[in-house]
Amino acid sequence: MGNTRLAEIIGRHERDLLAEWTRRQMDSFGTGRDRISETQLRGNSQDFLRALTEALLRNAGSDLRRQEWSSMKDLLGEISRQRATQGFTPSETAVFVFSFKQPLFTRIASEYPNDSEGFAAELWTATELLDELGLYTSEMYLKSREEVILRQQQEMLELSTPVVEVWEGVLALPLIGTLDSARTQIVMQNLLEAIVARGANLAIIDITGVPTVDTLVAQHLLKTVAAARLMGADCIISGIRPQIAQTIIHLGVDLSGVLTKATLADALQLALKKKNLTVARS
C-alpha cells in the first residue's frame, strides 16, 4: 500500500527533491568534484527518480529480484560502472543512493503532520527500499571494478608477450611471469604465428623471468617445441637457472630432446652457429 503513496510524495516534490539531493551529492564529493559534472549528477538523479516512481507505481515492494525493478537495476549498474571507471571509491558511489534519504524523509514528514504512525510506516518502507538499492549499487560497483581489473590483466597478457626477431630467421621470446593458465596459450600461439609470418627456422624461448617451472609449464614448453618443429623451426630454451635445472631433474621431466642453454647470450651464439654465421671483433 505504502508504495504508491511514496510515488505520489516523490511526484509532488520532484523539483525541490532533485535540487536538494543534487546539492548534497556535490557537497559530499568535496575536492573530488571535478571528476563529475553537476549536469551528469542531475541527469543520473533524474533517471533514478523516474525509475523509482515507475516501480513504486507498479507496487514493486522492496524485493529487487522482482521484474518491476529491472530498469532501476540497469540504471544503477550503469551508474556504478561509470563511477568505477571515473575513479570513485565504493562509498562515494553508494552515496548516490544514500544521500537521497535525508531529502526524501523531510518530504515524507511534511506529508504526515499529525500522523506519527503513518509517518513511521512510510519511513520504514522508504528506508528499507533505499538500503536495498544502496547495497545493490555497491555490489555493482565491485563487480565492474573486477571487470576493469580483468580487462587490464587481459591487456597485459597481450602486451607482455613480444616475439622479437633478433637475427634474420631467428626469433626470441623472453618470457616473464607466471607461465600457467591463459597466458601460456597466448604466448605460445604468438610464437608459432610469428614463426610462420617471418619464415623463421630458429626460435629462442628464454625463461629467465619465469619463477616456477613445474610439470605443467614443462609440458607447455615441450608442446611448443614439438609444434615449432613441425613448422620447420628448432627451438632453444634458454635462461634455465641452476635451481630450476635441479627441480626439473627431480620432477623427472625429460628435456633431453630439447636444445637448452644457460643464458640468452649462449642461445644466440648457438643460433648463429647453426646458421653458419660467426661474430668477429672488427
Binding site: 607466471t178 600457467d180 593458465s181 619463477p211 616456477t212 617451472v213 613445474d214 610439470t215 605443467l216 614443462a218 609440458q219 641452476p242 635451481q243 630450476i244 635441479q246 627441480t247 627431480h250 620432477l251 623427472g252 621431466v253
Partner: protein, 135 residues
C-alpha cells in the same frame, strides 16, 4: 611438532595455485630457506595445489612454519573432498596420469621434499602433506 605460523588458502580455481606458490615462497624466505630449497618446495606446492584443483575438484592448502628440536621448516597440507585415488601405488608412478598431464606431479613432489605423506579414500577425498626443512 610446534607450529610457529599457519596460513590457510582456498584452492578452487587455477589462479589459487598462483597464490599458494607466492605464499609458500614468502614463508620460505621468512625462515631463510636457500634459493634451491625455496624453488623445490614452491614447485612441489604448485604440483600438489594443481592436483587439488584439477583432480580433487577443489579444496584448501595449509602452509605452516614448524619447529622441531632446533630445526625449522615449512609443512604444507593439501586437502580435498574429491573422488579420491583408487590405486595410490599406480598414481605415484612416474608417467601415470588419469588426465592429460605428464604424470610426474606426485612422484616429483616426493623427490623435491624431505617428508611426503599421502592419504586417500575413494569417494571421500585426498590429503597430501609435505615438508622441507632448513638445511
Amino acid at each position: 611438532m610446534p607450529v610457529v605460523k599457519t596460513v590457510e588458502l582456498p584452492l578452487t580455481r587455477q589462479e589459487d595455485v598462483v597464490a599458494v606458490r607466492q605464499r609458500t615462497r614468502s614463508l620460505g624466505v621468512e625462515i631463510g630457506l636457500t634459493i634451491v630449497d625455496q624453488t623445490k618446495i614452491v614447485t612441489a606446492a604448485s604440483e600438489l595445489a594443481r592436483n587439488t584443483v584439477i583432480h580433487g575438484g577443489g579444496g584448501k592448502a595449509t602452509i605452516e612454519i614448524v619447529k622441531e628440536a632446533s630445526k625449522q621448516g615449512l609443512r604444507l597440507t593439501f586437502e580435498d573432498c574429491g573422488p579420491g585415488i583408487p590405486d595410490l601405488e599406480r598414481a605415484m608412478q612416474d608417467g601415470y596420469t588419469s588426465g592429460a598431464g605428464l604424470g610426474l606431479g606426485l612422484g616429483g613432489s616426493k623427490r623435491l621434499c624431505n617428508d611426503f605423506a599421502i592419504e586417500s579414500k575413494v569417494g571421500k577425498g585426498t590429503r597430501v602433506t609435505i615438508a622441507r626443512w632448513k638445511a
